[in-house]
Symmetry: C2
Amino acid sequence: MTASDIATRQRVLEAAGEVFAARGYAKATVREICKLAGANLAAVNYHFHDKNALYEAVLDQGYKLALEKYPPDGGLSASATPEQRLHAFVRSFFLRLFAEGAPACHGRLMARELAEPTGVLDKKVEQHVRPLFKLLSEILRDIAGPDLPEAALKRCGRSVVAQILFYRHAQPVLQRLEPELKLTAQGIEPLAQHVTEFSVAALRTIARRK
Amino acid sequence: MTASDIATRQRVLEAAGEVFAARGYAKATVREICKLAGANLAAVNYHFHDKNALYEAVLDQGYKLALEKYPPDGGLSASATPEQRLHAFVRSFFLRLFAEGAPACHGRLMARELAEPTGVLDKKVEQHVRPLFKLLSEILRDIAGPDLPEAALKRCGRSVVAQILFYRHAQPVLQRLEPELKLTAQGIEPLAQHVTEFSVAALRTIARRK
DNA sequence: GCTAGTATGAAACAGCCGTTTGAAACACGC
DNA sequence: GCGTGTTTCAAACGGCTGTTTCATACTAGC
């Protein structure tokens, strides 16, 4: 049965996404992935070449699905204001990082890869991250106007991304310091609102001064 | 010779700091630490109980030395403005995260621990991190005034910390995206300046609106 | 100078890891 | 029904890990 063949491969792929996202590449074990997928230990080396190729496959599929489900432009109309576009960018970034379910582990994986490259970094992350930074820079330029120097604009772009990634990277200690913080699909809405507001306010003031 | 006894223990401690900071707890191996320290493999289990106790010892010593060398208040006079105190906070935070040399690996270790707790988190990080957040909140309150709700102030505090930690967590990909960025003792000065300026501008605007 | 207590050393241990193996089970074209 | 090619399975392999062992070297007190 061909359907069953695809099924095991797909089951391993999905299980790998969860385990890699939860444990990181190094700590994730092939044995745990296969057990979660209900497959034999040799399934990884049979359907993919090895653990690393499986990881790349997970990243590839995750990238495709995440951008389909949460496009960085948020699906806004062309007449949207720069502030609305920034809010959509921030919000979709949050969603990719925290959304539950199968297609969403990509954000968590990329956040991990960002901090601890596994060698796939040069192939994948740069190709996924640079376009995001470029899009953000264009939005911020529309808000700040043409007079703000490029270097200052870049620093502001990093400040925006930093505020979003923080909630992913620092989540373990954040949950301990402020247990009332809920990082669910609803819980991130006020956070996306805050990051947008905070950043627009800062950018406007800085652009006015320079 | 007692001096030599302490010397090996100290050498292992320092080597462990470097290796843990560079590789993380899981990837760091006792063999590499001992080799770097010029000590026997059994030195770790003899002078400390095991790898985990060595890690705790490194964290303890690092915390002590880092706070001595880079105090969070920056050694400011009592008459300093809130903006100056925020700048000192941000700058000393950057320095603890990026300073080179033996005592400085603590910042890198805590940044790692923040993202991937090893179990020492509950003992150490909370006890080290919570006071920092409290100090930051007091500074931000002085800037924002008494009318800004506590929840909004907390979100702003997270935004400040996020902008600093970003340069540590995202360093690998940041170096690829913007190779001209130098994260040395001199290079972080304009970054500390930017984070302070960005945050003060945002906080003032938000406080005025609320 | 000899003993007691401590520090170092080489070697081995048990456990987990990714990967490989070769046989068994399966589906499918003829 | 039979042979072929593909997928699954249990078992084992080699390598690396933290830790332990026990013999040796050393220092200090009498």
